[in-house]
């Protein structure tokens, strides 16, 4: 199968993979898949999980929102945070979720943000289970 380079770029790190055959990303209105020779475009990403087939092996990343830039040469995911499933400490992720839940019940005025951090924590926990 034809492969393409995938870059996951955040403000604090850059993950580069050269032999990617398929990437499944969380779009705002549902998930979508990218394969080699995809049409060029810019697609908004939500908080969620990226599944990439790298050299025949499946790998998972937890990302928080951003966008995907697809060009002829490569696919770039520009997101605020990205973590490979292997790097996520599930106990810490669980603690973070607990904290986020607590904050959610306290926070009345900042509901959106509390909701978002809860969503992020839940996502990390989900990805870490792979």
């Amino acid at each position: 199968m034809k492969s393409f380079p995938l870059e996951i770029v955040t403000p604090t790190r850059k993950i580069e993979e050269s032999e990617v055959t398929y990437a499944r990303c969380p779009g705002l209105d549902g998930e979508f898949g990218i394969m080699a020779n995809h049409r060029e475009g810019i697609i908004a990403l939500a908080i969620g999980e990226v599944k990439a087939t790298i050299s025949g092996k499946e790998e998972y990343f937890a990302i928080s929102g951003g966008f995907a830039e697809i060009t002829k040469e490569k696919v770039q995911l520009l997101v605020e945070t990205a973590e490979p499933s292997t790097e996520i400490d599930s106990t810490r992720a669980e603690e973070a979720l607990e904290r986020a839940k607590e904050r959610f019940s306290e926070a009345e005025k900042d509901e959106d943000r509390a909701k978002e951090s809860q969503e992020r924590a839940r996502n990390r926990l989900k990805v870490s289970s792979h």
Partner: protein, 284 residues
Amino acid sequence: MANLKDIRDRIKSVTSIQKVTKAMKMVAAAKMRRAQERMEQARPYSRSLKDVINNLLPEVDRDLLPLLEVREVNRVAYVVVTSDRGFAGAFNTNILKIAQAEIDAIGKDTVDLFCIGKKARDHFKRREYTIIDSHLDFWNDLSFSDAMTIGDGIIGHFTSRIVDEIHVVYDEFVNVATQETISELLLPLVFDGSESGSKDRLYEPSKDVLVKSLVPRHLNVQMWKYLLESYASEQAARMLAMENATSNAEDMIKDLTLEFNKARQAAITTEMLEIVSGAEALSG
């Protein structure tokens, strides 16, 4: 002439001060390198984001987002980025001087302040400026989420229409020897809108939604840039200041040692004179 013990004590104290300045210099150098690395890591993200927004902005309505709104300017906010700690040469002084000059030109009463770093807070508090919020004690473990938290408060001040413009005064890290104090307009967003060729591209879900989700991210990364630049500059300034202090201490030790030797010889000469004249008095 100072007596021998005094001089010896001074040499000792200058030597131990020199040890401290030397250590501070090395710590600053290590921290600066780290900050530099992080600045480089942040660059690809911020550049791509800027490009995409630049491409999209001419094609969307500015009314779409409160962040893009250009209003008549009645009240402005200033974000002043300084360090928590001193011993960094003229680093903080320069920033505060420029910030204060600009604020005074607009009029102290129409400016709201966001102070980042203890030095800015102390400076403006003492002079009774309107401080809306200040952020201290985060520099040591600076993370992207700090930038997001700080940014949220500042941007909220703009979107709730309390101020119509937001300026940021910070030190930009040019290289180890030069840092430049910069005053920049953060909001409303001004983009040159230079179109790099409207390609046949897919925009999903829509250009409007993309701009809506990207602009706040752009501001976050902008805030992150300010913090990193400022941190690197602070460390570079401290490194230089401590290097100067170390070499000044070196000079002082040299001078004091010379003085010490002179005093010692003078003392020996006096003693010998006393002995000789004593012996003469006895034999006479």
